[in-house]
């Protein structure tokens, strides 16, 4: 694994989808008027005959994609996460999920990574997709995973919702990292706190674990790229080996990763105090920058450190987390 500030790359997903399409002529690409933003201008240039403009019409886009999947194509559908899940929820349920069709719904700009206000902030997309029967829900953390994810999901039975950061994508994992959809990955070992993190919260989770390690607190950071179906065995095993359990997600704490982990702990009788990091029954708002929102809504490294500190009942104020300076083209969690 690399250390922050992380190097970043552009369009790792977009390149990967083109590579997949070179090998798989059943792959089609649909876009809802966000082609460059969703990195699929690359696909449009490489395979114009397999690229379909759906325009600003998400309900129809999902319905068309479902019919294409019914005919044996594997459609990848692209828009922002808010528009991919809220607007066409009924279409996803009736036209895609009930027939268990292999539509790949790709929602960019997760959580409060957009400073564009509640209309553009997908703070509920994981919850909405997680409650759809048969839906696989993926929230990856870095560029290396983005390069692998198209290949990883193309043959998953039934529908997939893939949540992707937009823009500069950090390189967190080393070249030897392999994305596996069937397991959560234990990245650090510690017996005090188990910290399950998905998507953009993996970086602050790792940074927080390092701060805590400097104060003698051991944290097992677990990367959870697939929220459904959840790797329940790893959740149980790591939780049982620690004193407290934390979850961190760029999303509401209801319905997403935190809820999924809570369900596993409760159903398995793994009695550990649980703290969920994420938005707490609130919308965010429009702002100038995403880091401001991450700080304000408790998604910063400092927030994770304090959450662990308090959950463990440690005395005095939690240690301060230093933020690694990021130059242009680099990424650091706030």
């Amino acid at each position: 694994m690399h250390e922050p500030p992380y190097q970043t790359v552009l369009k790792p997903y977009g390149h990967a989808l083109v590579e997949l399409a070179r090998r798989r002529d059943d792959v089609l690409c649909l876009s809802g008027d966000l082609t460059r933003q969703c990195e699929v201008d690359l696909f449009q240039a490489a395979f114009p005959e397999r690229f379909i403009h759906a325009g600003m019409a998400e309900a129809n886009m999902i319905g068309v994609a479902a019919a294409l999947a019914r005919c044996g194509h594997v459609p990848f559908v692209h828009t922002f996460g808010v528009f991919a899940t809220r607007r066409p929820l009924d279409q996803i349920i009736n036209a895609v999920a009930y027939p268990r069709l292999p539509v790949r719904i790709v929602g960019f700009m997760p959580g409060i990574s957009s400073p564009g206000g509640p209309s553009h902030q997908a703070i509920d997309d994981v919850a909405l997709m997680r409650c759809v029967p048969g839906m696989t829900v993926v929230d990856i953390a870095d560029a290396g995973q983005a390069r692998q994810v198209c290949e990883a999901i193309v043959d998953v039975p039934g529908p997939v919702y893939l949540r992707l950061k937009r823009g500069e994508i950090p390189v967190i994992f080393g070249n030897d990292h392999r994305l596996a959809l069937d397991r959560a990955e234990v990245l650090t070992s510690g017996a005090d706190a188990a910290l399950f993190a998905s998507g953009m919260m993996l970086a602050p989770a790792l940074a927080a674990a390092e701060v805590l390690a400097g104060h003698g607190i051991g944290v097992s950071v677990v990367s959870v790229p697939v929220i459904k179906p959840l790797d329940e065995a790893t959740v149980r095993r790591v939780s049982a080996a620690c004193k407290v359990v934390l979850t961190a997600e760029n999303h509401l704490i209801t319905g997403g990763l935190g809820s999924a982990v809570a369900e596993v702990l409760a159903e398995s009788g793994t009695a550990r105090p649980l703290r969920r990091i994420g938005l707490r029954d609130t919308f965010a708002e429009g702002a100038g920058t995403a880091p401001y929102l991450f700080g304000k809504y408790g998604l910063s490294t400092q927030s994770v450190v304090e959450c662990a500190w308090n959950a463990l009942g440690l005395p005095g104020p939690a240690p301060a987390a230093a933020v690694a300076d990021a130059r242009p083209g680099e990424y650091s969690p706030v």
Partner: protein, 279 residues
């Protein structure tokens, strides 16, 4: 699951000798299917009987695709399929009953269709996707989609209409069952959807307005739509009471109550018409 087939599956075969007679037979079977419950989607069968009969005449068995956007209309298709031998009498008797694959509101489990769903307004998008796939693959088949006028209130229908016209999906033909009926009452008292034909024209479709109970006109229009060079919408003006004189004038077109005495009268009326046609 149903043992019945999908109409577009290779190997599926049927023949229609007399489309007018098929329309009457659809009504008779629909009356019996609804009578078993005492109420149901009879109005949909009465308004669409000629359109469904025409589809069974024009669609090429084992090739052309059939989409039924409003799932409540499956009753008419099931009745037609039973009449031409694609659904058994025993299976048809299970319509809407516990454990039957013939759910009263069409779903993914329903036989016959390339797409049907009970959540209204979604079928045209599916039809457009099917037609687009066929064009991508060079398959020379047509896609027929039945939609209802009430569904025109759903925005997705117009998203799909724009998409299909932009893609010039000329293999796609739509039947709009303009029966002026929705749950809360006549469509024109709920939302003004007229001028329907002008709307389709302005969305890039070729509209054709016709008497939806003239089975020969509907058949001819379905056949002729193949040559339009763009998608065609047949706006079929119909009534949810057509062809069944014994219905009370205040019958609810969306969900008709059919107590035993009324059902018996309806069966007698339609049976007599079938026998008269045979004579």
């Amino acid at each position: 699951m149903s043992s019945a087939v999908r109409l577009s599956d290779p190997g599926t075969r049927w023949e229609v000798a007399d489309p007018q007679r098929l329309a009457t037979a659809i009504r008779l079977r629909a009356v019996r299917m609804v009578a078993a419950h005492g109420f149901g989607y009879l109005g949909q069968a009465l308004s669409s009987a000629e359109q469904v009969a025409a589809l069974f005449c024009v669609a090429r068995p084992g090739a052309d695709r059939i989409v039924c956007s409003p799932g409540h209309y499956v009753i008419a298709f099931y009745a037609a399929a039973a009449e031409v031998g694609l659904i058994s009498e025993q299976e048809l008797d299970g319509y809407g009953q516990d454990g039957s694959a013939l759910e009263a509101i069409g779903t993914e489990r329903s036989p016959l269709f390339d797409y049907v769903a009970g959540s209204l307004g979604q079928g045209l998008s599916a039809a457009a996707g099917l037609a687009l796939s066929d064009r991508l693959r060079g398959r020379q088949v047509r896609t027929f989609a039945l939609i209802s006028d009430g569904e025109l209130e759903e925005g997705q229908v117009w998203e799909a209409a724009m998409f299909a016209a932009h893609q010039r999906l000329s293999a796609l033909t739509v039947l709009v069952d303009a029966n002026n009926s929705q749950v809360d009452g006549p469509v024109d008292t709920i939302t003004t959807i007229e001028p329907v034909a002008a709307k389709w024209a302005s969305f890039g479709w070729e509209p054709v307005e016709l008497d939806g109970h003239d089975v020969h006109a509907v058949s001819a229009a379905l056949a002729g739509a193949r040559d339009a060079g763009r998608p065609v919408a047949l706006i079929c003006r119909t009534s949810t009471a057509h062809g069944l004189g014994c219905l009370p004038p205040d019958a609810d077109g969306h969900f008709i109550k059919l107590p035993p005495e009324l059902a018996a009268a309806a069966v007698a009326e339609l049976t007599a018409r079938l026998e008269h046609a045979r004579a």
